[in-house]
């Protein structure tokens, strides 16, 4: 298995885990947050503000943005899942861009 395929399997496993049934929040919400942090469609507040901010510049995330999601979801664990989904969404979009660029060279040698 080449390096791209090895890492692609890991990346897809992470994407599946973030949006699958193992979470305590709604899987559809996590999928929407993951997509939003990668520049996808807006979603309702307070999720939109947090997901967008994590995707664009996480060091500017405010306590209020996290607190509003924590209150809406009702627990730290649920807020944690939303933060992880957004972080993973943005990081995987960058991974997809990198692999697209590498494969776009047409260089199949190792």
């Amino acid at each position: 298995m080449d390096a791209i395929e090895k890492h692609r399997r890991h990346a897809e496993a992470v994407r599946s885990a973030a949006t699958g049934s193992a979470g305590v929040t709604e899987a559809a919400l996590r999928a929407a947050v993951l997509a939003r942090a990668a520049g996808g469609a807006p979603l309702g507040q307070p999720y939109d503000a947090l997901a967008r901010q994590i995707g664009e510049a996480a060091y500017r995330v405010t306590d209020a943005q996290v607190e509003e999601v924590r209150v809406a979801e009702g627990s730290d664990k649920r807020a944690f899942e939303i933060i992880m989904a957004a972080s993973i969404g943005a990081g995987l979009a960058q991974w997809d861009a990198a692999i697209g660029a590498i494969e776009g060279t047409g260089d199949a040698t190792s």
């Binding site: 496993a13 885990a17 996480a58 060091y59 944690f80 990081g91």
Partner: protein
């Protein structure tokens, strides 16, 4: 914002690990490890497996070079925790002056041309992923980077583009330099899995 449940742990095992490791290392367990111990039925083990493969798995990049790439992603994303943690780990495998020079400006740092070209690719991937094109990858390959090396480096950057984001969203505590140094020793000994 810090989440108290992540800070203290959500299971008996997690709380015990936090307590024991803090005692043994004589330092507060870094927040990155607390996240790894938290909510283990969610993404933690799967993400940990990718992180371990990218940072410690087989490949042409040395552990020090991979840790340098992690520190650079922290730098580009303005993540103080990740800069400190991976600078401290990188300098155990690379010359400290080289790591510092990269963080100041990798374009002029005394590093190999393939590593410099790889960092240029990772910088665009991190800051302007929409602009990343096959020509960027070709530039790196023309500098002597193999397809495998570039994919392995992109995996390091992807993992740390995720970690920097949750580190800042969860407002990770930034340890002292001495604490980062102790944590680096643990990271080299135990890995990320």
């Amino acid at each position: 914002m810090r989440l108290p449940d992540v800070e203290r742990g959500d299971s008996l095992r997690g709380r015990a690990l936090i307590r024991v490791i803090s005692i043994v290392s004589a330092a507060r367990l870094p927040d990155a490890a607390r996240v790894a111990f938290y909510h283990r039925s969610f993404v933690g083990p799967t993400f940990g497996a990718w992180t371990q493969a990218a940072m410690r798995g087989p490949g042409d990049w040395s552990v020090g070079e991979r840790e340098l790439m992690a520190a650079m992603v922290g730098h580009w994303n303005s993540c103080a925790f990740c800069i400190g943690a991976h600078h401290a780990t990188a300098v155990r495998g690379l010359e400290p002056a080289l790591v510092d020079a990269c963080l100041a400006d990798y374009r002029t740092a005394p590093i190999s041309e393939p590593l410099r070209a790889t960092l240029a690719f990772l910088e665009t991937m991190t800051l302007r992923p929409g602009d990343l094109a096959a020509s960027d990858a070709k530039d790196a390959m023309d500098a002597g980077v193999s397809r495998t090396q570039l994919a392995d480096a992109a995996a390091v950057a992807a993992v740390f583009n995720i970690i920097t984001r949750y580190a800042d969203a969860l407002d990770f505590t930034v340890p002292t330099n001495a604490e980062f140094d102790r944590a680096a020793a643990m990271l080299l000994r135990r890995g990320y899995g």
